[in-house]
């Protein structure tokens, strides 16, 4: 347990009978030579051994949602931390057992709502393995674009709110400005900003509109400037470094054992990225690097996520360059809706349309667990099918839930003000934790 002490310059005249430094009032020069501040006579009362219980949240801006932390404090040092979650529990997994696969996609928007389009892709990948479907090349590249855009969006929200928590305001505005541009792109593509529901089993809800790639290229070209600006303001900033270095350290062994994933794990020096180790969507054919920290503290988590933003831009550039022509959806009338014009003019198409909507696509009996690298970590969807159009069990493996479970380990022994920085560095989304 490491204790960080804050050294305050006090003018001490000596020690008292108990051996503690005796404090004297601070003198200010008001010209008259008198005392501007009057300190209480004598020394401070003995507070040793008294612990204080304080409650943060569930309604507190620094807890990033409805997290509640009960902290036992010794002075300003956290002795024990007890997290309470569940305030946002909606029972997504239960509802999923009563919905068809394409209907569940709408629920995946709402869990990790900063990464909704990435969740859509992850769920579709899981369902497609369950159905035994291979999507088209164009669809794969579009999904990579969707995943990386949502990673940038999620990291920008994390960056902005992290800055606010620590006390920097300007990078927050810069980050949210750029995030707005991505939201505009997403809105042009699927018609919604937050609740995208962009994928379908076997393809996408919509192909990109004409001229969309120009908007993406514009973003790819200009976004690194913003990153450079934020980098210049934060990375070597003395206050920033002072507030983040050496906090919430997890060693590589601890990080693996506590099940941390994503930037949290990589900041501890463990080189595990689902995109590299268990690739999906042909990620192995993209040229990108995985940032890995060395100290496992809050500052390294910042560095790792920051570098991931740059790497995402690289992936986006490659995806934009290679986007092939061709269909987005697979050619299988059992899972994909026919075009509207055909559904109203051809008998077979109308039957297919009716069956896909009313009965829903049916996977064979089986189960699948597909994990993707979400901005928060390893996000997995585990689905069990009994051959009907609704899953027997739909399970979300929430990365921020597992990451948050380590918060008592990370904050104990640190100061109360560091709890805010450590909590912000986990990058939690309560929608995903409580589901």
């Amino acid at each position: 347990m490491s204790k960080r002490t804050v050294e305050v310059e006090l003018s001490t005249t000596g020690l008292d009978a108990q051996g503690r430094p005796q404090r004297v009032p601070i003198l200010t020069d008001d010209g008259g030579g008198g005392l501007a501040l009057q300190a209480p006579p004598g020394i401070e009362p003995d507070l040793e051994g008294e612990h204080m219980l304080i409650n943060i949240g569930p309604q507190h801006p620094a807890t990033h949602g409805v997290l509640r932390l009960v902290l036992e404090l010794d002075g300003e040092t956290v002795v024990r931390c007890i997290p309470h979650i569940g305030y946002l529990h909606c029972g997504f997994e239960k509802i999923g057992e009563y919905r068809q696969y394409n209907q569940i996609i709408c629920w995946t928007d709402r869990e990790d709502y900063l990464n909704s389009i990435g969740n859509n892709v992850a769920f579709a990948l899981g369902a497609e393995r369950l159905f035994g479907i291979e999507v088209t090349e164009r669809c794969k590249v579009l999904r990579v674009i969707a995943c990386e855009l949502s990673r940038i969006m999620s990291h920008l929200v994390w960056l902005g709110t992290f800055c606010i928590d620590i006390g920097a305001f300007t990078p927050f505005l810069w980050a949210f400005q750029r995030r707005e541009e991505i939201y505009r792109l997403i809105e042009k593509w699927v018609g919604a900003r937050l609740t995208t529901s962009a994928t379908r089993v076997g393809g996408m809800a919509a192909d990109i509109p004409s001229g969309w790639m120009d908007g993406l290229r514009q973003f790819i070209r200009t976004f690194p400037h913003t990153l450079d600006e934020i980098d210049r303001v934060l990375t070597r900033n003395a206050i920033w470094v002072g507030r983040t270095v050496g906090l919430g350290v997890m060693t590589p062994e601890e990080a693996i054992n506590w099940g941390l994933s994503g930037p949290m794990l990589r900041a501890s020096g463990v080189d595990y990225d689902v995109r590299k180790d268990f690739p999906y969507l042909d990620y192995e054919t993209y040229d990108f690097e995985v940032p890995v920290g060395t100290n496992g503290d809050v500052y390294d988590r910042y560095l790792v996520r920051f570098e991931e933003l740059r790497q995402s831009v690289r992936i986006l550039q490659q995806a934009a360059d290679r986007l092939p022509d061709g269909p987005v959806n697979i050619d299988d009338p059992r899972v994909i809706l026919p075009p509207k014009s055909k559904a109203t003019s051809e008998m077979e198409s109308m039957i297919h349309h009716f069956k896909v909507v009313m009965e829903g696509p049916r996977p064979p009996i089986g189960e699948s667990y597909v994990a993707v690298e979400s901005p928060k970590g390893e996000k997995g969807y585990y689905m069990v099918s009994d051959g009907t159009s609704k899953p027997v069990r739909w399970r979300i493996r929430p990365p921020s839930f597992v990451n948050l479970a380590a918060i008592p380990k990370m904050v104990e022994g640190h100061l109360l003000s560091d709890v805010i920085a450590i909590n912000a560095s986990i990058d939690i989304v309560m929608g995903e934790i409580d589901r």
Partner: protein, 230 residues
Amino acid sequence: MSRFEIVRTGASATGAQPATQRNVKHRGAEANPSAKALQDNFSSGVKRVEVIWGETIVYVDPASAHDVIRWLHDDQSQRYDFLSDVTAVEYRDADVPIEVVWHLRSLPYRRFVRIKAQLPKGTLEIDSVWDIYKSADWLERECYDMFGIRFRGHPDLRRILMWESYKEGFPLRKDFPLRGRFSRSEQLRQALAQNPEARYSMEELTIADAFAELPQEMRERLSKGERTGE
């Protein structure tokens, strides 16, 4: 390298670059080599091995599940050091037992295996793997909260997403109706009748003083002096 820089790596240190799986067979794909090793080491503990969509599923005896996972974690040729998930599956057919599912990853060998133990309804109890993986803490609590499976040896097995005094049962069980077990008016009546202080955890009861409002089982645990903090 300065403190302000970050290491960038292209690939993991061990092995060649893996590729996206293509054209995976529904059944009968090649099993993970760990499955064979498990069958050799635990003759009676491992019941059967299935491969579905390229994912290896090892069905184990509930009594030896902990030993199997311990061995997978410790053995140098396996090194399943990352516990992805602990969950359970209940099937729509009431006679089929509930399955506890562990998703394990070996980061050094890039392997993935699913361990399953079938628990007959009525004896929903199994050994916790918390002593092997700390990540099992909250995952097992959630599994208990949603399915009512008791994990023996878990240090703090209490509800996590639902509140401690929740009386309607275990939400993800198939006999639990989607709208909840109680009617809306009953839910409202109970919510209004609740002492809000009773939602504090046991440590906080020293200040909350709502001991009498807690569930019976929780009071028993508390009165035995059990510490349930993290």
